[in-house]
Amino acid sequence: MNQEKDNSKDHLPAGKIKQYFIEVYEVFRFIIKFFKVIFLPPYEFREIIRQCYYIGYKSVALISVTGFIIGIVFTKQSRPSLADFGATSWLPSLVSIAVVRALAPLITALITAGKVGSNIGAELGSMKVSEQIDAMEVSGTNPFKFLVGSRIVATTLMVPALTMYNGLVAMLGSYLNVHANEMTSMKSFFQDAFSTISFLDIYSSITKAVVFGFTIGVAGCYQGYNTTQGTQGVGRAANSAVVISMFLIFIEEMIIVQIVTSIR
């Protein structure tokens, strides 16, 4: 809404710090509001499924290509080092650990942040500045629940699904490279690959993906839903959605890895 802020002192460090904490407080309020509305009827199942289709299905091609290339490149890059020790037979185990523990969730999240996060920021931002969100509100529909709730749920569900898919495609890429060089059979490759993966690895990988998906949804929706200053604001919302979610993904990755390592 047309609230004016006194930004005259925001260039001072104290003003910036204050602004930062206000922003953090607003984001927490936004998240709490999400949890408040999402469990109350009427449920927006149709919109959630629609968003899952756009966020998940429409990202499959990009995730397939990147996953496949990562599998091949990581295998090719690792081979010389292992070959020095005569340990190329460890390639399936090495790749599977790297892909499941780190690469699949991280790469999927970064791709989704770039593709989906920016799209959510721009779409909601454009709806905000063209008063479509106000129009929804005055027609007796809760725009927060319909637009924000459905998108955050969809990213939280779809990023783990895409992560698992990305992991499988990366392993397939790796297998093709290993097969071409070492003539390893598919059965032998995947037996070696999965024998080194523990339940904790898979569990932590999916947990990471859920957290990353939620972060991408919140960052995109928060930036878009609070867009001000017309079309310039829409561009800024799309950009901020990507930058903030990528930054948070790396921070979360570090925290989750620390926790999982201490459990292991």
Binding site: M1, N2, Q3, E4, K5, D6, P42, E123, S126, M127, S130, E131, Q132, D134, A135, M136, E137, V138, S139, G140, T141, N142
Partner: protein, 259 residues
């Protein structure tokens, strides 16, 4: 252009605003504003850009909250309604946005279907289609039913925006600059439509505009908002029967005064 005499009930006030104040930071936009709208009347609100006209109708529909004062619409204090009451209240109010605010990702049919299926979940698809086709016929745009908003002209967008509000059969219509950005022919179509809506749907309305042609041919009363308050109120002729240069500047701009 001649307008049929509307049935205005002066004993029945549908919108009652008293002592309304609203500020943004240090800028006070509305100062002790008082305004009454009677059942069945079209009230036109004139005022320069930035004088708080849009803020006023956003307060009426609960999109903004006043700093002080009371806004009673259909007997309900708007700023005291809880979420559930607000949702029910808003179904009685139609809001036509300045930029139409049609949902870009939906066709015309889906734009009209959206508020209907969200608020009247017991309707079957046949009833929904009938309602959509009915209001689109009323605004003369049935042929655009499967088009996208991006394929419509400015005037068509405004009419679809009005149809979208009419589908819920509101008792009050709020028009934010209904003729802005339109060519004269499209403006006249919108003016005619506003009067038809008043007659057919028995609505009471607030029409915000800079366009005196629109004001003259749609409004039973004109209120001029100056310096945050209603400076003049009355029929078109009464309002402009003055030497006040601030008031006459509207008239001179729209009708180039020969004197």
């Amino acid at each position: 252009m001649k307008k049929e005499a509307p049935q205005v009930d002066k004993n029945n006030t549908v919108i009652s605003i008293e002592g309304l104040e609203k500020s943004f930071g240090s800028l006070q936009v509305l100062k002790s504003l008082n305004l009454q709208v009677y059942k069945g009347e079209n009230m036109v609100l004139l005022g320069r850009s930035g004088t708080g006209k849009s803020v006023l109708i956003k307060i009426i529909v609960g999109l903004m909250y006043p700093d002080r004062g009371s806004v009673k619409v259909l007997g309900q204090e708007v700023d005291k309604l809880d979420t559930k009451e607000m949702d029910a209240f808003r179904l009685k109010i139609g809001f036509s946005f300045q930029g139409s605010a049609l949902y870009d990702s939906m066709t015309v049919r889906e734009n009209l279907e959206f508020p209907l299926i969200k608020n009247k979940r017991d309707l079957d698809s046949r009833e929904v289609n009938k309602a959509i086709e009915g209001v689109l016929s009323d605004v003369g745009l049935l042929k655009t039913i499967d088009q996208w908003p991006s394929e419509l002209s400015g005037g068509q967008k405004k009419r679809v925006g009005i149809a979208r509000t009419l589908i819920l059969r509101p008792e009050i219509m709020l028009y934010d600059e209904p003729t802005s950005g339109l060519d004269p022919a499209s403006s006249l179509e919108i003016i005619k439509l506003i009067n038809e809506v008043q007659q057919k749907y028995h609505t009471s309305s607030i029409i915000i505009t800079h366009d005196l042609t629109c004001a003259k041919f749609t409004g039973e009363r004109i209120a001029v908002l100056l310096n945050g308050t209603i400076e003049r109120l009355g029929s078109f002729d009464e309002v402009f029967d003055t030497d006040d240069p601030d008031i006459m500047s509207f008239y001179n701009y729209n009708f180039i005064n020969e004197s």
